[in-house]
């Protein structure tokens, strides 16, 4: 990373003047904390004793055999407390917020995983918590909203614009502009102004560090390729960055949605609909139209439905150090089913993109090669969407019965 939070031409700080002091304070506190062994020990201890780290690296023999190529290993971030990698970042930033003396945290959420993780940690650390979530995402992910509320968080539906993650992020920035004095903006992905990309990627790097050790113990060497889904990019940064100086090929899998037309996907790479831009506090590749308006995105998974991408990944892709591919909704549902049936692992739809990309390419690799797929989250939260995608009629009957039961006086 260069000065002022730039990663090549990406990153930087493009914020309203009102946030200047608050951002400077955050940068300073973050640097101090990272140089403080007792803070790092506290983060590590919470990751182990609260979230259950280290998460295992699971060998998938049945899937490997069915695919017929490289040996497939899955990094089980789904086994974190809260069921997703989001917990790693939230533990780090939550402790940092306490250290800075903040009373309140705010966060944006897409699928709701980051919202739930933030609400959990806020309950544990005694922080007031407000979550901004697109109204459209609330419809898709109500179970997560339910838990956030039960945990004591205030969930604010964002109805402006496309009513998804990017709009929730805008609204969180507006809240931060107003309440910076007592509030920490606990951003969920490695995007935003300095020092957020570096900070989130840093807290997530525990994923890749563990894979290094586990691969040496279980495979005897590093995997040949590593796959991660890429929305904002935090789970990808987390598993990729520790391998940057190795021979391992790093492959990001974006949401291919339902097609290649504008608004039909959430791909920021390998499409001329995305190019250099500045918004939401930082520079990266944004999906945008000819006037520079950010575009709507589409994906079966709310968590990948984001218009920008981590400036760290934009830069690494430009340098040829990360290769980006994509998977469409139907291929993703198919990969979800294959992993579930062959290994008994229920993946989040977000993470199923990485599974789809991984098994597609594993089939073309040699049996003495191996790949690791980052399973960033578990799929329980997707039960409604998956039941719909699988056309499960009985699920609809269950909902009707549940409703008529719940409506009884």
């Amino acid at each position: 990373m260069s000065d002022e939070g730039y990663f090549g031409q990406y990153g930087g700080s493009y914020i309203p003047e009102i946030l200047f002091n608050s951002q400077q304070q955050l940068i300073e506190s973050f640097r101090e904390a990272m140089a403080d062994a007792s803070f790092l020990a506290q983060v590590k201890s919470e990751m182990q004793t609260y979230s259950g780290r280290p998460t295992p690296l699971t060998y998938c023999g049945n899937l490997t055999e069915a695919v017929g190529g490289a040996q497939i290993y899955i990094k089980r971030e789904d086994l974190n407390h809260s069921g997703a990698h989001k917990m790693n970042n939230v533990i780090g930033q939550g402790l940092l917020a306490k250290r800075m003396g903040k009373k309140r945290v705010i966060a944006e959420t897409g699928a709701g995983q980051h919202g739930v993780a933030t609400a959990l940690v806020s309950a544990r650390l005694g922080l007031e918590c407000t979550i901004y979530m697109g109204a459209h995402d609330i419809q898709r992910q109500y179970p997560n909203v339910f838990w956030m509320k039960q945990l004591g968080a205030t969930v604010v539906p964002v109805t402006t614009g496309s009513a998804t993650l990017k709009d929730a992020l805008d609204e969180a920035i507006r809240d931060w502009c107003t309440h910076y004095e007592d509030t920490h903006y606990l951003i969920g992905t490695s995007c935003g102004c300095e020092p957020f990309p570096e900070m989130v990627a840093g807290f997530q790097s525990v994923i890749g560090e563990e894979v290094k050790e586990q691969a040496m113990a279980q495979i005897g060497r590093y995997p040949d390729r590593i796959y991660a889904c890429v929305g904002g990019g935090s789970n990808a940064c987390g598993i990729f960055l520790p391998f940057l100086d190795s021979e391992v090929e790093l492959v990001g899998v974006e949401a291919g949605g339902i097609g290649d037309g504008p608004g039909e996907h959430a791909k920021r790479f390998n499409t001329d609909q995305a190019r250099f831009g500045v918004a939401q506090g930082y520079a990266t590749k944004f999906l945008q139209d000819d006037q520079g308006q950010l575009q709507e995105t589409q994906s079966i998974s709310a968590g990948l439905d984001y218009v920008g991408v981590s400036p760290i990944l934009a830069d690494l892709e430009e340098q040829g150090k990360v290769r980006m591919i994509s998977a469409r909704d139907d291929e993703v549902v198919d990969a979800f089913k294959r992993l579930m049936i062959s290994e008994g692992i229920i993946a989040a739809l977000e993470s199923s993109h990485a599974v789809a990309g991984g098994i597609r390419e594993a089939a073309t690799m040699q049996v003495d090669e191996s790949i690791a797929i980052n399973l960033s989250g578990r799929g329980d939260k997707d039960i409604f969407n998956i039941a719909k995608a699988l056309n499960d009629v009985a699920f609809g009957d269950f909902i009707e019965d549940y409703l008529s039961e719940a409506m009884k006086p």
């Binding site: 002022e4 930087g12 700080s13 493009y14 914020i15 309203p16 003047e17 009102i18 200047f20 002091n21 402006t160 614009g161 990017k166 709009d167 805008d170 920035i173 507006r174 502009c177 107003t178 309440h179 910076y180 004095e181 250099f276 831009g277 500045v278 918004a279 939401q280 506090g281 944004f286 945008q288 139209d289 000819d290 006037q291 520079g292 308006q293 950010l294």
Partner: protein
């Protein structure tokens, strides 16, 4: 001497407080927004800030954000917006027009190209998602006499006020309180000491915006600020009663100014 600064100082010799009114280009339609602009200029507002809408306006409150999203649904073009406001600036030589937008539409158009196109007609530009750390990005605008207007907030440290003032020209945009446009938390209670603090470090005209919505607010600014910036309040008035609403709000603001003692 900077054109925007000269203009404001000359006007201030005649008036206790100037008005910079704000209109979102393309809301609710391009034609309607141009009609509102013409009405404001016909009635003698000294400065007009025209916002080219951006999909993700993080410094704007709900009223302006909603207007921007509505405007974008008609796919306004920055090129056309510039042509339209240049024509207005020629039609109303007694007022000055400023363009406001976020960085992305500006970068997308090209800063150099924008500077060349605006030069001579548009006196200034306001971009809320960049601080003086990014000043070099906007250098072409300065060179072409399209002055970037820099922002000061009540929490800006004294050294930084001096630093911003050294970078700035034309005028300073003093945000009235923490938050986004259209918000006024403390009813301008501390505005006078805040502006006095800024004044110690700059000879530039001071404009004040965010939540300035009534004649009473203007009274509080008299003698302390040079320009009152009114955006969301006019937009709300428009939403209630279209051009009639705007006319009424404008006359409320202008009569507050005309009642001020001339020495203010």
């Amino acid at each position: 001497m900077n054109e925007l600064k000269t203009f404001i100082q000359a006007q201030r010799n005649k008036k206790p407080l100037l008005l910079m009114t704000h209109v979102v280009y393309g809301y609710p339609s391009v034609a309607k927004s141009l009609e509102v602009m013409a009405h404001l200029l016909d009635n003698g507002v000294e400065l007009l800030e025209v916002q080219f809408p951006f999909s993700d306006p993080v410094a704007d409150g709900p009223v302006i954000t909603a207007a921007c999203h509505e405007a974008i649904s008609h796919q306004p073009k920055l090129e056309q917006c510039i042509e339209d406001i240049k024509a207005l600036s020629r039609q109303y030589p007694d007022s000055k027009l400023l363009l406001m937008s976020y960085l992305n539409p500006v970068l997308n158009y090209g800063v150099e190209r924008l500077a060349e196109t605006l030069s001579g007609d548009i006196a200034g530009i306001i971009i809320p998602d960049i601080t003086i750390q990014g000043q070099r990005l906007l250098a072409p605008l300065d060179r072409h006499g399209v002055t970037p207007v820099w922002i000061i907030t009540p929490d800006t440290a004294t050294e930084r006020i001096a630093q911003i003032s050294d970078t700035a020209d034309g005028m300073l945009y003093c945000v009235s309180n923490a938050g986004v446009t259209g918000q006024q938390a403390d009813g301008l209670d501390n505005i006078q000491s805040y502006l006095a603090r800024v004044r110690q470090h700059t000879g530039l005209p001071l404009s004040v915006g965010f939540g300035i919505s009534s004649g009473e607010h203007l009274q509080r600014l008299a003698g302390h600020a040079d320009v009152a910036i009114v955006g969301s309040a006019l937009l709300k008035a428009f939403n209630q009663d279209e051009l009639t609403g705007v006319a009424e709000k404008l006359s409320e603001l202008q009569s507050a100014i005309s009642e001020m003692p001339s020495g203010a």
